[in-house]
């Protein structure tokens, strides 16, 4: 597969990264290129190696071999303050108050007390958790706690933000709000965001680029639009009234019939693959002479389909999709 090369600068570049835990190969030569100021979806079934990859970028572990460069420089501990990290299944300290806890994490990311406080209060207001500063963490609802965790991850205005399942646990209204904030971070601050998720609808809505890894290998990556286009591969959905057998015979060798489904009353739904040499307009002109066309549209492909197909194509039968 091709590595994305459509952005001038890459925020993060992994080249042939390998990581081994005992006998288990967590990452087997993965190369990635995350363009600056984009939202990059990191997809893959459970146990694919996403967490390992994220932990490397977050500076928790290093690769056994291969290189990771961060805005053109080799990733080192100097970049700590430029990375924000929201882990999966996260929580908060129970024995601290909300504001104090947020201050703690902000200061760990190198912010001064005064600046941290001001920025935090802004964020608290924006996400409507103001008034919770002095409350106990145990008083927070799950959604509230998630908001605080999100704030804590982004408070130091990181150039690079890692979000692992950022929307899980939110109700639809708050999920929409966080989604908006993620987009705002990219558009206003130029933050590069690495988003790991199983939630395909948020990939469809948020991501500019995606990479799919399975069994420690990258099996697919690229801009979301072109991946969809590729997955569609010239397929069209066609519904017509007429004789299926004579229709098939008339198709000849030009187009491929992927599937056919009769809905009765001589109506058939078929999925066709057209070679690039036949534009859809020409095909339509021809087909209307043979059968009574009720509807014809390019096949709609969601990232879900892209994901499933790629995993299946890569020969993995053990998909634990959650």
């Amino acid at each position: 597969m091709n590595t994305v090369k459509d952005s001038k600068y890459s925020a993060l570049e992994l080249i042939a990264v390998r990581k081994q835990y005992g006998d288990h190969t967590a990452l087997d030569g993965v190369s990635l290129n995350v363009p600056e100021a984009s939202i990059f979806g990191l997809l893959g079934p459970n146990g694919a190696g996403k967490t390992t990859l994220i932990r490397m970028v977050a500076g928790i572990t290093g690769p056994d071999s291969g290189s990771i460069s961060f805005f053109g420089k080799s990733l080192t501990s100097e970049h700590i303050n430029e990375v924000g990290y929201l882990p999966e299944e996260r929580g908060l300290y129970k024995n601290m108050r909300v504001g104090e806890q947020a201050m703690y994490f902000a200061r760990l990311r190198g912010m001064s007390k005064a600046v941290a406080r001001k920025e935090l209060l802004d964020w608290f207001e924006r996400l409507e958790v103001d008034g919770w500063w002095n409350r106990e963490v145990s008083d927070l609802s799950k959604g509230m706690a998630q908001k605080i965790q999100f704030i804590v991850a982004v408070i130091h205005k990181p150039k690079f933000l890692i979000l692992d399942e950022p929307l899980s646990g939110f109700d639809p209204i708050n999920a929409a709000r966080i989604r908006k904030e993620i987009i705002r971070l990219r558009d206003e601050y130029g933050t590069t965001i690495l988003l790991s998720t199983h939630d395909m609808s948020s990939v469809d809505e948020l991501c500019d680029h995606v990479a799919l890894i399975n069994h420690g290998r990258k099996i697919l990556d690229g801009p979301v639009d072109s991946l969809r286009e590729k997955a569609r591969a010239g397929k069209i959905d066609l519904i017509f009234r007429g004789n299926l057998i004579s229709f098939t015979a008339a198709l000849g060798s030009g187009a491929v019939l992927h599937s056919a489904n009769s809905t009765g009353d001589n109506v058939h739904e078929v999925v066709l693959g057209l070679p690039e040499s036949i534009p859809i307009e020409k095909f339509l002109k021809w087909v209307t002479t043979e059968v009574d066309v009720l509807s014809c549209s390019p096949q709609s492909v969601s990232m879900d389909d892209v994901f499933l197909r790629a995993v299946q194509d890569s020969g993995a039968n053990k998909i634990e999709q959650s």
Partner: protein, 445 residues
Amino acid sequence: MNRWLIVVGREFKTRVRKRAFIIATLLGPILMVGAIVVIAFLAEQATHSDAKVLFVDHNNLITYSLSGSEGVRIPSCTECFSERSFLEYRFTNQALTTEEFIDSDFTAMLELDDGIMQSAKAVLQYEVAPSIRVTSAIKRDLGEAVERLRVKNESSLDYETYKRLKVRIGLVTQDIVTQDKNVQHKTGVGFAFAMFMFMFIMIYGMHVMRGVIEEKSNRIVEVVISVIKPEHLMSAKMVGIGLVGLTQIFVWSLLSWILFIAFGFYAESSGLLVNLMSEQGTQVAATDFSSFLEASDDLNVLMQIDWFMMVGWGAFFYVAGFALYASLFAAIGAAVESEADAQYLLLPAMLPLMFSYMVNMMILESPESMLATVCSFIPFTSPITMMIRLSVGVPWWHVLISALILVVTVYIMIKMAGKVYRTGILMYGKKPTLREMFRWLIYKN
């Protein structure tokens, strides 16, 4: 470094300002003294269920009959059986049958015959078990009565002369080199230090483990170790929590000292001192508290103990012992995901601690035995057993070597625990076996 201090600060602050900690720290010494007073008071109360004892003097040894009243007898020595608020005597020479005794309002029945003159033994039967206070009063009273009888029967002395001649030896033990007296009392002080050591290492070691488990289970650890190395996080946690323990030790020492001094002032000014001394029969007429302590056989140990050395070495052995066990507990906490899972790993880690606690009981008896010496060099037991040896006096180079061994072991343990910790905190979903944990020691990061 700055981040490390921020972590230390958090670990320290969040624990020190907890209500439970503040109460325990401020009230600890007061509560301990209070508990002793309450126990003493309750023990007093418990004996207030009055005893009524029937003496059955079969051979009319210590009683005579008052003409006219059948069966009722009077003790020959009335002052022997003085009146007590909690104890009442009746005398007879006819034993009651079991049924009669149960029906009567006597709580106990004591039968004696000629045999007591030789065996000095009597049988006390009871319906309600008598308290120690009651039995010791009976023993004292009957003993005096029998003694008087024996003096009268077997010598020409009168009882007052006999009493004056009778000798009771008070043994003062003294170390010939240090001139220290009553070392066994000092052992008690050392034992108290050792108990506190055990308690603090245990409590704050568990704090470390729980803290590690909390951070791991809520994934905060991932955020923190993305800014600070796992080994540094572990050490910051241990230092922060260790300081909490030191704070408590410091406040307790200070408060105990203040309480002690305050009690001294109170005793001096209220006349309690004079009462105490007349009760103890102390010959020296001490007017101030310290000379009172000096004069008391039981309490002069408080003046002889080298408190600065005890507290100084105590602080060192606490810090080192805590570091040793806390790093072990941190590694265990990192390996598991919940406290319940930690149980099977905790047992082997706590065994040496438990062992030193038990060994202490034996060492208390003989602080200069081989067992004590050996255990005071083994790093896993030395923080606890060395305290007893320190209290009775120990060659300085013993302490120094023991301290060196401990420091080296602590260094190695922290290194090893750091490796287990660093691997463990990022592992989810399975309980590691001890073997796997050993394998983590050689993992590269």
